[in-house]
C-alpha cells in the first residue's frame, strides 16, 4: 500500500478541492451529572457552524466513552501506512502493557475517501517502571513524546483514560460520519471546525490537540507560539504537530498538573491581566497576579484566541484579553454549553437559558459534580 502522505505531504489535502474564507468554529457540551450524550448531538451542533470552516479540519474530543476500560489509558493512534504499525507497536510494547487493541471503526463515506489508518490501544504503564516509583501520568507523557518523535509515520491522537479524540481533514460533520460518532456516548464533548490560516491542513493538525485526558479546540492564532514552544522545550515538551494550538495543551499540563496551579491560576497565567489592571487590585491580589505573570511569562499567550479546554473532570472556555474571538456560554439544567455562536447552542437546545458572552480573558470553569 502506498503511504497516505500524512507526513511526507503535510500540506493542504482538501477532500472538497476548494477553498473558502471563514474563521474556525467550536462548541463544547458538559453534563455535570455525567449523563451521557450521543455523538450525534455534538455533530448537529457543530454542523450549524459549517460556514466557519473550509473543510481542512474537523475534530471531536469525547469523555466517558470507554466505561469498560475506564482505568486504562486509551491511546488513539494515527498511522501513515499499515507498515508503520509494526514498528510503532514494537516501541509501544516496550513501554506499556496492552490490554486490548483494535482498529478504530470507521465508515466508508462519499467524502472522506483518502485517510490514514487509525488504531486504539487500552494500556497501562509497564509495571516494572511503576515499581521504580515513576508517576504513571509522567510516564505516559514521555511515552507519547517518544512515539511522536521516534516512531516513523505514527502520531498519538489522544492518550487519556475513558476519553478519545477523533479528527481529520474534512468538515466536522463528515469527520463525525467517518468515525461513526453516533455510536458513542459521552458526558463531555468538544468539537472543532477548522479554517487553517498559517499552518497546513493535515490530519495531525486538525483539532483537538491532546495530552493524557486534556484536549484543546481553538479558534484564532497563538502569535506567541515561538516563545511558548521554547519555554515548553526547556521543560521536556516537544512540539511536533506544526500548529500553534499544540502549545496550549502542553502549557496547561505543565502549569496545572506539574506545577500544581489551580485551573483559575493556570488560565490567569495563560491570559494574564494587563499591568494597568493589576495596579488597581488590592495588595494581596496585586502580588499574586504580579507573580503569576512574572514567573510564568513564557506561558502567556498572545494573539487572538477563543479555546475550549476539556479534561476528565470538566470543561473550561476562555478568550483572549482583548476579545478578538467570540465565545458564548449557555445552560439548561445541569448541562452547560460553550460555543463560537449562540445559534449552534440553540440548534441542540432551543430553550437554553442565560446565554451570555464571558468577559475577555476570564476563564469559565465548569466541573463535573462530585459523585
Amino acid at each position: 500500500m502506498e503511504n497516505f502522505g500524512l507526513f511526507t505531504e503535510p500540506w493542504v489535502k482538501s477532500p472538497y478541492r476548494e477553498r473558502d474564507s471563514a474563521a474556525c468554529g467550536l462548541i463544547g457540551i458538559i453534563n455535570k451529572d455525567k449523563k451521557r450524550i450521543s455523538g450525534s448531538v455534538i455533530k448537529k451542533a457543530i454542523s450549524n457552524q459549517h460556514d466557519r470552516g473550509n473543510g481542512l479540519g474537523g475534530g471531536f474530543a469525547a469523555y466517558g466513552i470507554y466505561p469498560q476500560y475506564k482505568d486504562l489509558y486509551a491511546l488513539h493512534l494515527m498511522y501513515d501506512n499499515h507498515k508503520d504499525v509494526k514498528d510503532t507497536e514494537d516501541i509501544l510494547e516496550n513501554c506499556v502493557q496492552i490490554h486490548h487493541q483494535e482498529t478504530i471503526p470507521h465508515a466508508t463515506t462519499d467524502v472522506i475517501i483518502d485517510h490514514p489508518h487509525f488504531k486504539r490501544y487500552f494500556v497501562e504503564p509497564n509495571p516494572e517502571a511503576m515499581q521504580r516509583g515513576i508517576n504513571p501520568d509522567d510516564y505516559m507523557v514521555s511515552t507519547v513524546m517518544e512515539i511522536n518523535t521516534k516512531a516513523k509515520g505514527a502520531f498519538v491522537v489522544s492518550s487519556g483514560k475513558n476519553m478519545g479524540a477523533f479528527k481529520g481533514v474534512g468538515f466536522p460533520e463528515d469527520i463525525a460520519d467517518f468515525f461513526q460518532l453516533d455510536q458513542y456516548e459521552g458526558y463531555i464533548w468538544t468539537a472543532h471546525n477548522r479554517f487553517p490560516t498559517n499552518t497546513p491542513g493535515w490530519w495531525g493538525g486538525a483539532h483537538p490537540f491532546t495530552l493524557l485526558d486534556k484536549s484543546v479546540v481553538h479558534n484564532g492564532e497563538i502569535s506567541s507560539y515561538g516563545i511558548n514552544k521554547r519555554y515548553l522545550d526547556t521543560h521536556g515538551y516537544i512540539c511536533t504537530l506544526m500548529t500553534d494550538t499544540e502549545v496550549v495543551t502542553y502549557l496547561v499540563d505543565f502549569l496545572h498538573r506539574k506545577n500544581k496551579l489551580s485551573y483559575e491560576d493556570t488560565f490567569s497565567a495563560l491570559a494574564p491581566h494587563f499591568w494597568k489592571d493589576i495596579d488597581r487590585l488590592d495588595e494581596e491580589e496585586r502580588l499574586k497576579f504580579t507573580l503569576l505573570r512574572s514567573v510564568y511569562a513564557g506561558a502567556a499567550l498572545n494573539g487572538p484566541f477563543a479555546f475550549l479546554y476539556a479534561f476528565n473532570g470538566g470543561l473550561i472556555g476562555i478568550n483572549d484579553r482583548v476579545k478578538l474571538r467570540p465565545l458564548i456560554v449557555g445552560k439548561k439544567g445541569n448541562t452547560v454549553y460553550m460555543s463560537s455562536e449562540e445559534a449552534s447552542i440553540r440548534e441542540i437546545c432551543p430553550d437554553a437559558e442565560d446565554c451570555y458572552a464571558p468577559h475577555a480573558g476570564d476563564a469559565v470553569i465548569v466541573y463535573l459534580d462530585e459523585e
Binding site: D51, I328, E341, A343, E347, A357, A360
Partner: protein, 247 residues
C-alpha cells in the same frame, strides 16, 4: 404578509427567497425558526419593508443594508449593521461584538447588553447621522475611532451580572460624533482624545425623540429620561493624530 419557515434552510436559499419576495412587492416578511443563518438583509435597498425574525440570526445581519426594518425577537450575534446605510434594526434580546461597524446611517437598537467593539468607526455626513442605542451594558472599545453619529448606552437591567456598564478603552481615537452614557464615567476608561460633560438643553432635545422611539420599538416605557444622570462624550479634536507622522 408572508411567513417563511427557515428550519434547516441554508442561508443562501433563504436570502435569495427574501430578495425575491421583496422584488415582488411584499412589505412584511416573517422568518420562523431562524438558527444562525448569515447575512440576513445584507445590501438590500428597499423602503417600507419589515423583516421580523423569530430565532437567533447568524453573523453579519443587516450589513450594507439600505432602508428595510429588521426586528429580531431574540438575541442577535456578531457584526450586526456593518456599514449600514439606512433603515432600522431592533434587537429585543442581547447582541454580540462589532455592532454597527462603520455604520453611516439608519438606526440600531438593542434592548439588552452588547459585546466588544460596538460602534467602532461610526460616521456621519450632513443629514446622514447613524443612531445606535444599547439598552444594557457594553464591553471594551465602545465607540473606538468614532467619526460621526450618535451612540447611546443606557446601562439598564443591572441584575444580570457584576460587569460595569461601560468597558475599557471607550472612545479611544474618537474624532467625530457624540456618545451619551446614562451614568457617571470613570476617566481612566476613556481614550485620551475625548472629554466628558453633563448634558445641556440641546443634548436633551437630541436625546428625547431617540429615547421615545427606542421605548416605542421595544414596547416598554423605560425609566431612562433622567437626563441629569447622563454623561456626554465628545472628541477634543477632529484630527487627534494629525501630528503623528509629522517630524
Amino acid at each position: 404578509m408572508i411567513e417563511i419557515n427557515a428550519k434547516d434552510v441554508y442561508y443562501k436559499e433563504l436570502n435569495e427567497r427574501i430578495r425575491k419576495e421583496i422584488k415582488k412587492g411584499v412589505k412584511d416578511i416573517r422568518l420562523l425558526n431562524i438558527c444562525g443563518q448569515r447575512y440576513i438583509g445584507d445590501g438590500i435597498t428597499a423602503n417600507n419593508v419589515t423583516i421580523r425574525i423569530q430565532g437567533v440570526p447568524g453573523e453579519d445581519m443587516a450589513a450594507f443594508m439600505d432602508g428595510p426594518t429588521i426586528i429580531v425577537e431574540n438575541n442577535a450575534q456578531d457584526g450586526v449593521g456593518n456599514t449600514m446605510n439606512d433603515g432600522k434594526v431592533v434587537v429585543h434580546g442581547l447582541a454580540g461584538d462589532v455592532l454597527g461597524y462603520g455604520m453611516r446611517g439608519g438606526k440600531l437598537y438593542v434592548k439588552g447588553d452588547c459585546g466588544y467593539r460596538v460602534g467602532i468607526h461610526m460616521k456621519g455626513y450632513m443629514d446622514k447621522v447613524p443612531i445606535m442605542v444599547i439598552g444594557g451594558k457594553a464591553g471594551n472599545f465602545f465607540g473606538e475611532y468614532m467619526a460621526g453619529g450618535t451612540l447611546i448606552l443606557l446601562g439598564m437591567n443591572p441584575n444580570n451580572n457584576d460587569r460595569p456598564v461601560l468597558g475599557d478603552y471607550c472612545a479611544t481615537g474618537m474624532h467625530g460624533g457624540v456618545i451619551y452614557i446614562r451614568g457617571k464615567v470613570e476617566e481612566d476608561k476613556l481614550g485620551k482624545e475625548v472629554k466628558h460633560f453633563e448634558l445641556d438643553e440641546s443634548d436633551k432635545k437630541i436625546l428625547k425623540p431617540i429615547l421615545n422611539d427606542f421605548c416605542k420599538e421595544m414596547g416598554e416605557q423605560f425609566d431612562i429620561f433622567d437626563f441629569s444622570r447622563y454623561t456626554k462624550i465628545i472628541p477634543v479634536s477632529k484630527r487627534p493624530y494629525g501630528r503623528m507622522y509629522v517630524y
